[in-house]
Symmetry: C2
Subunit: 192 residues, 2 copies
DNA sequence: TGTTATCAAACGACTGTTTGTTGGGCGCTG
DNA sequence: CAGCGCCCAACAAACAGTCGTTTGATAACA
């Protein structure tokens, strides 16, 4: 089975779109095949199974988020600036790969044990990177001595939840959304 | 079909648990019936359809979240205190009705148009209550002049995302989680 | 006696996947 | 350049189930 071919990429794109819209289990191979004007059996010339489709979509998304934050970390900026960069990077990935990213958040749990484990490893690594940014900020005295797990969780929750409401067709760019969140997370609601 | 009976409540409880664990579409009537040592056909003496099960679970959860925040609003406290109360209330509902609440977040979109609309109305109302808290805080000068939609969205994202990671069996009480978030959202990360 | 809960069985539709076959296009050979 | 074999994508059909739901019968209980 070829890991890369234009037909295969088409199938992945259609699957990503349908998985996002209807969910993994509510999307049948029939649905995917129809969009490509194929018989559902014909898909199996290009892929091994439906689950393999899901894994590839989810795994690619995980990789993109991970790459994005590691770039922010390598920037050498201050923790506050890294936080802003990380928020921007996350929102940019979400905007650019909306289908893939949404499926990543919603459908990873339907993977069988072993594949799910591989995704969760990347997910944990991603969360760790966020915690490192917060921890570094506290260490340097740039941040208050907050619990780094909660600090990371707050930032991550804001952008993780965004796939529920953010639309690339809307008036806000990914960077604008990220900056709004960055301002709030850094300076809080309270008036001076 | 009786709207309330102990058998019906049992079915709803089992359905809620399975829908949370495996998702709506991956849970069959067979699965639900097995847990209750029934034939799957027998469920239909108590319910009209699988979708009705989903709707009732999701609708109850929506009602609970809505009640919780309206109680916080009616408390007459300052906006900052209302925000803390609202965060606590949300986390408490999540902890107490974990299955129902998780299904509410994850599976509402599988409802058919009309039922989905009724849920979305309650959801919108819930978001509006959060925005009102922020707006009131800004108005009174207790909060900085932030965009109330983003302020509400940040608080809501924090607690909405919590169903992914929060476990009532863990070491943290709902109030502790809520207070951690409240401190962060009110005062921000940045050192003075 | 009527009511209620449950059962076994069937309904038609759909599931993901495998199979054997076909036809077009490609490169190699004579 | 003609002809041959081969690859590749796609097809139709079937596999062995499972799906949600309906029906008619049957016990237990009021």
């Amino acid at each position: 089975m070829p890991r890369t071919s234009s037909r295969r990429e088409e199938i992945l794109a259609v699957a990503g779109e349908l998985f996002r819209q209807k969910g993994y289990h509510a999307t049948s191979m029939q649905d995917i095949a129809e969009r490509l004007r194929l018989q559902r059996g014909s898909l199996y010339a290009h892929i091994d199974s439906k689950e393999e489709l899901l894994f590839e979509i989810v795994d690619r998304a995980a990789g993109r988020f991970l790459d994005a934050i590691e770039q922010a970390r390598r920037s050498g900026r201050t923790p506050a600036e890294q936080l802003r960069l990380a928020l921007r990077a996350h929102m940019t990935v979400l905007a650019e790969y909306r289908d893939t990213a949404t499926v990543f958040f919603h459908e990873w749990r339907f993977l069988r044990e072993e594949l799910r484990r591989r995704i969760l490893e990347k997910r944990d690594l991603y969360e760790q990177r966020w915690r490192q940014i917060i921890a570094e900020g506290v260490e340097r005295g740039e941040f208050r001595p907050v619990d780094e797990r909660f600090g990371a969780l707050l930032a991550l929750s804001a952008v993780n939840w965004a796939y529920h409401w953010y639309s690339p067709e809307g008036p806000l760019s990914p960077e604008q959304v990220a900056d709004q969140f960055a301002d709030l997370i850094l300076d809080g609601l309270r008036a001076a």
